[in-house]
């Protein structure tokens, strides 16, 4: 169950008891947990290729949860974030969700609700990573061709633009479709759009 490939739930909270109790709860549901006492500690340990989600206290001394969210965005790290909020922080949390956080949950929270949220966040993250991995498999030429297809160009035009023959374009095109598992241009466009869109359900 545990291993480098399995997703990791990061818990970032300045309250040691809350951190420890969350680990206890999440491990009961079979999750791998990494607990950090602050935003800085998290940034130091987090590796972009590690799948998972982030359970983040909105109020913390030092870098706050909201600031960490901005920092993640700035660094291009797309891990789904679930904010933990206290009394009276709901408007702040709503704002955070508008800015792309996955969800927020109010303290004290229902354990089952939290576990469901985490499952969903992990599923979203896995899906995003799977999609990203497919795109990784494209060669740079295939990527170029794909972008032109998505931009609505015809094979002749693509061939002219990239100075290659139409036959080569067709070969790249079928390569792209096969690697991304798209059976039509419409499906391809949708895939690419989903990659670009913020990762929310």
């Amino acid at each position: 169950m545990t291993g480098p490939g399995t997703p990791l739930v990061y818990v970032v909270d300045d309250d040691a008891a809350l951190r420890d109790s969350l680990r206890w709860l999440l491990e009961s549901a079979g999750h791998r947990v990494a607990a950090c006492a602050g935003a800085e500690a998290f940034l130091a340990t987090y590796a972009a290729d590690q799948g998972g989600c982030l359970l983040l206290d909105i109020r913390m001394p030092g870098m706050s949860g909201l600031e960490l969210q901005d920092e993640l965005k700035r660094r291009g790290l797309a891990i789904p974030v679930i904010f933990i909020t206290g009394h009276g922080d709901v408007p702040m949390a709503v704002n955070a969700v508008k800015k792309g956080a996955f969800e927020f949950i109010e303290k004290p929270f229902n354990a089952q609700a939290l576990l469901v949220l985490i499952e969903n966040a992990l599923a979203i993250d896995a899906e995003t990573r799977r999609r990203a991995a497919r795109f990784e498999r494209l060669t740079s030429r295939e990527r170029e061709v794909m972008e032109l297809i998505v931009a609505g160009k015809r094979n002749q035009d693509i061939a002219a633009e990239l100075s290659i023959t139409i036959k080569t374009v067709e070969a790249h095109r079928s390569g792209v479709m096969r690697k991304l598992g798209a059976d039509s241009i419409a499906a391809l466009v949708k895939l690419v759009q989903n990659m670009d869109a913020p990762r929310r359900k």
Binding site: S21, L25, K107, P108
Partner: protein, 470 residues
């Protein structure tokens, strides 16, 4: 030119009449001298209209007849002098006919002019009546000369008590800052001599003689200013008092702090339950988690303890206290809140209430807290039924009893006792700490705090305080 016209208007009716006659004579002579070369009959209209306008209809008609006489005489004399072939009206009948037509035309002119004059006068009168009837002081000034062209009664009464007003600077000198002659401006100005505030508007407009002038209108806003000032002072006072009131603040801090251990306890418990349910557990592990949970419960307990100490820390200064005075203070502080929510406050205070040994500020806070709850409970009550009654009396037990009754949603019977429990609240955004702390304060005073349901709408909160025994 305007000066000349003004000069004329000051002269008597005789002058107009003389002027009219002179004009008429000049025209009659010209008419005679030009013989039949020109028909000058139209020129007679000038003196006729002039006199008709200036002196009225009768004079106008008299002048028409005079003019006709002049014209007719002219024609008559000329007809004697010249052979018939030169004449426009060689026979008596056409001459008479023409005379009749002329007279009728002139008289019609005179009558129409007169009607016009009356209509104009009426229009002017309406305009003046409206302006004089206004609450606002209004004046019109020529911005170049500073001459006052018009001012209404209100303006005269407001600014011209000492001397007749003729110049705008007489008014502007009384105001700080003075309303300038800038175009289209609004602002507030203070008249120090009368201690009144005015809101003024300056508009530029074209005066009847075509000049660009400024119309300035003043509204007395002293009452509004005073109300605003009073409101601001009360708000300030309220803010200061609410700083004193640690109740609300404490409750919110408490909620924040309590969340941590509560959330941790919930997590430990849920984690244990899940493991037990799954049959996948290790006794040592479970034990450790449970111990951590109880440590968190103790942490929560310590937070509560700290709050209690905070309440106690404010060592009550128990002095002989006029409870009616405390109630009136509190009522003054909730007045704004009550007004905003359309709640009437009714005070029914017992005369000759004995003094109580109490900390006035603390009791005031309890009353404020209960009264605020009461006002909030009346949100759903129709506005005309929203009433907050604060009563003081000596009850049968010999204690001072304060009753705070509302006509709000009331407390359900099942919850009458629970409302004093910590975290009990019927408010969507409430914390449920206020009443619990209020009760602690009353107990500190060896008094009590409880609630009853009203027979009609709403509920009543009762506070008792023992009387000081000398």
């Amino acid at each position: 030119m305007t000066r000349f016209i003004k000069y004329l208007t000051r002269q008597s009716r005789i002058f107009y009449f003389a002027l009219g006659v002179t004009l008429l004579a000049v025209i009659a002579v010209s008419d005679y001298l030009t013989f039949y070369a020109f028909d000058l009959s139209v020129l007679y209209l000038v003196p006729i209209c002039f006199v008709g306008w200036m002196l009225g209809r009768t004079s106008g008609i008299v002048f028409s007849v005079l003019a006709l006489a002049a014209w007719f005489t002219n024609k008559q004399v000329i007809s004697q002098l010249l052979p018939h072939s030169f004449l426009l009206y060689p026979y008596a009948f056409p001459r008479l006919w023409k005379a009749l037509i002329l007279l009728a035309t002139w008289i019609i002119f005179v009558i129409v002019l007169d009607k016009l004059k009356v209509a104009l006068a009426h229009a002017d009168e309406r305009f003046v009546t409206v302006l004089e009837g206004l609450q606002e002081a209004v004046y019109v000034v020529d911005p170049d000369s500073g001459e006052l062209l018009y001012l209404n009664d209100q303006c005269r009464n407001t600014f011209g008590a000492a001397e007749p007003l003729t110049r705008s600077r007489q008014i502007e000198a009384q105001l700080q800052p003075p309303p300038s002659q800038d175009e289209e401006r609004s602002g507030e100005a203070y008249a120090a001599a009368r201690e009144r505030w005015y809101l003024f508007h300056t508009r530029s407009l074209r005066w009847v003689d075509g000049r660009d002038v400024r119309l300035v209108a003043f509204t007395d806003i002293t009452d509004r200013k005073q109300a605003e000032e009073l409101n601001r002072q009360q708000q300030e006072k309220l803010q200061q008092t609410s700083h004193l009131i640690t109740v609300g603040h404490m409750a919110s801090t408490l909620a924040h702090e309590m969340n941590q251990p509560l959330a941790a306890i919930a997590n430990y418990a849920a984690g244990c339950a899940r493991r037990l349910r799954a049959g996948n557990w290790d006794a040592q592990e479970l034990l450790a988690a449970m111990e951590k949970a109880s440590a968190q419960a103790e942490r929560a307990g310590r937070i509560i303890q700290r709050v209690r100490e905070l309440v106690r820390k404010r060592e009550p200064r128990l002095v002989d206290c006029d409870i009616n005075g405390v109630i009136m203070n509190a009522a003054g502080l909730i007045e704004i809140n009550a007004e905003k929510n359309h709640v009437r406050i009714k005070l029914e205070l017992a005369v000759e209430l004995p003094v109580a040994l109490a900390d006035g500020v603390m009791i005031e806070q309890v009353i404020l807290n209960v009264a605020r709850n009461a006002i909030e409970s009346m949100r759903e009550t129709p506005p005309h039924e929203r009433e907050l009654t604060i009563q003081s009396r000596l009850n049968q037990g010999g204690a001072i009893e304060i009753e705070i009754a509302d006509t709000g949603c009331g407390i359900p019977a099942s919850m009458a006792g629970a409302s004093f429990e910590p975290f009990f609240t019927t408010k969507p955004d409430g914390l449920g700490m206020g009443l619990n702390i209020c009760r602690s304060i009353m107990e500190l005073h060896h008094g009590q705090l409880w609630a009853t349901r009203n027979s009609g709408r709403g509920s009543t909160f009762h506070l008792t305080l023992p009387v000081t025994h000398a």
